[in-house]
């Protein structure tokens, strides 16, 4: 497969140390102050999962065309993760508006969350509005469960996904 590099010179951002709300300084993006208190009651198996934990699951996914994580490229960021009840909404931002890797990046985020989150969560995945020339088409494909299921039975695609997810902690 001839590889076209869609963005040869991406801007790299330093990752934040941890998104865990262990100290007040890390909590600049917390929307709901009640989330912080959830940390104190980390015993129950039905423990609510918060935006930070979701972000921690996806921040270290590798970008398919650069030796960087999605966090370093600002493809994902903590404020772009929202949870309402059992619905997780993750917005992501391609590094360039013609990024042909958006589907693969989106799939890697979805697969990471499908594997790590309890099955009660419904995951909606969208591009940051205005960030991609085929925004609606990409969104539609990433949220079509049948297409996602079929993609995950495609060995070449799964191999590419596993590479992106190999170092995701």
């Amino acid at each position: 497969m001839a590889v076209e590099v869609f963005n040869p010179n991406p801007v790299i951002f330093a990752p934040v140390k941890s998104t865990k709300p262990s100290s007040k300084a890390d909590n600049i993006w917390v929307l709901d102050p009640l989330d912080i208190q959830d940390e104190a009651e980390e015993v129950d198996s039905e423990e609510p999962i918060d935006e930070h934990e979701i972000f921690d699951l996806i921040r270290s996914i590798a970008d398919p065309e650069h030796p960087n994580t999605l966090e370093e490229l600002r493809v994902v960021s903590a404020p772009q993760v929202k949870i309402i009840g059992n619905r997780v909404h993750v917005e992501f931002t391609p590094t360039v508006p013609h990024c042909g890797m958006s589907i693969l990046i989106g799939l890697s985020i979805r697969v990471r969350l499908l594997r790590a989150l309890p099955s009660r969560f419904k995951i909606d995945l969208t591009l940051k509005p205005g960030s991609h020339q085929s925004e609606l088409a990409v969104n539609k494909q990433l949220n079509d469960k049948e297409r996602v299921a079929a993609a995950l039975e495609n060995p070449a695609l799964v191999q590419a996904l596993e590479q992106s997810l190999a170092n995701a902690s």
């Binding site: 099955s119 539609k140 297409r147 299921a149 079929a150």
Partner: protein, 347 residues
């Protein structure tokens, strides 16, 4: 819900066993048999005891067909005779299954034919009401029409390339040789045979604002229901022989609607039957559909059951087509289970 509904949905039995998401369920039209298919590449068959006269049926697993499909079995369809089952798989093939002759109806299910031709995942398969035609559709954007010959021989009569995106569902009219298809391109198309030429598309129905996942003809065939990713169910009315228009938009689903089924129901008043829809919000909803005096349509929600498959998506829903059992409903979900329900008046 605060509204008091006239009916309730009682659980009859859960049929577990698939090792992965169950995509589709199909009642055999002539025998006490129901089957389901799954991402685990198998088809599971269950027989059941008499369910007429309100007696509660018991379902027993009688067979698992490994199928040999190399990918997910996405959908299944029984021939009207009840003797043949078709499977549509993500491996791009259609399997045709028949049971070995035996005295006690326990013969092995064997692959009688494998229909190849689609380039990518097959999503749906359907027999015409006479059983002489089979339709299949795929992500390759095509709909194929096959003629059914004796000895599991199939001849392709036409490849319809009308949709601009994946075709999600095909459904035949309950009496006439009219085929409808639903697509990721947000449209529904209808096809008929030109006796002097080929099959052709005579109508495109637009109105849904996202993928159309599922189609269900009304038992009498003058209406078609469609379920969509736009969270609505639409009902299309036949206004001339080859003309249909949207007559009702049913809202209420909170997420994608994946499947819709239209049965005759057991309504006490004049009715066009019972419509059931399911989807990603995990709720089973049932409406009684009737015609007003001015011949507009009316939908009345008669029953609603949240979390019918726990936290999981529900992928398909089907009314039992057999006489006297029109109140039996089957659903399949991402939990891999098939569940059997009975819709009863609240006493």
């Amino acid at each position: 819900m605060d509204i008091e509904l006239s009916h309730r949905i009682d659980a009859i039995q859960e049929l577990p066993g698939h090792q992965d998401r169950a995509w589709n369920v199909a009642w055999n039209p002539t025998k006490a048999l129901i089957s389901s298919c799954s991402a685990d590449k198998t088809v599971r068959m269950y027989s059941y005891t008499d369910a007429s006269n309100s007696s509660t049926p018991t379902f027993s697993h009688i067979a698992t067909i490994p199928t040999g499909h190399t990918k997910t079995v996405r959908s299944i369809a029984w021939a009207p005779s009840g003797k043949t089952l078709a499977t549509a798989s993500f491996d791009a093939n259609i399997g045709i299954w028949e049971q070995e002759e035996s005295d006690e109806n326990n013969g092995e299910w064997e692959c009688a034919s494998l229909l190849e031709g689609h380039e990518t995942e097959c999503k749906s398969v359907a027999y015409s009401s006479s059983g002489t035609l089979l339709a299949s559709c795929s992500r390759d954007k095509t709909v194929w029409i096959w003629e059914v010959h004796p000895d599991a021989d199939f001849e392709c009569l036409g490849v319809l390339m009308e949709h601009t995106q994946d075709v999600k569902c095909v459904a035949w009219h309950p009496e006439e040789e009219i085929l409808a298809s639903a697509s990721y391109d947000d449209t529904i198309k209808m096809y008929i045979d030109d006796p002097s030429d080929d099959w052709f598309c005579f109508l495109t129905l637009t109105g849904h604002s996202s993928t159309v996942w599922s189609l269900a003809w009304a038992p009498k065939g003058s209406y078609l229901a469609s379920a969509s990713d736009d969270k609505t169910v639409r009902i299309w009315r036949r206004i001339a022989e080859h003309k249909w228009e949207c007559t009702l938009v049913i809202e209420g689903n909170e997420r994608s609607v994946y499947s819709v089924t239209w049965g005759v129901g057991k309504s006490s008043s004049p009715s066009l039957g019972w419509l059931a829809a399911v989807g990603s919000d995990g709720v089973v909803r049932i409406w009684d559909i009737s015609e007003n005096e001015d011949s507009t349509l009316q939908q009345k929600l008669i029953a609603r059951l949240p979390e019918a498959h726990g936290v999981h998506d529900i992928n398909s829903v089907a009314w039992c087509p057999r006489r006297g059992m029109e109140d039996l409903l089957a659903t399949t979900g991402d939990d891999g289970a098939t569940r059997i329900w009975r819709v009863q008046p609240v006493s």
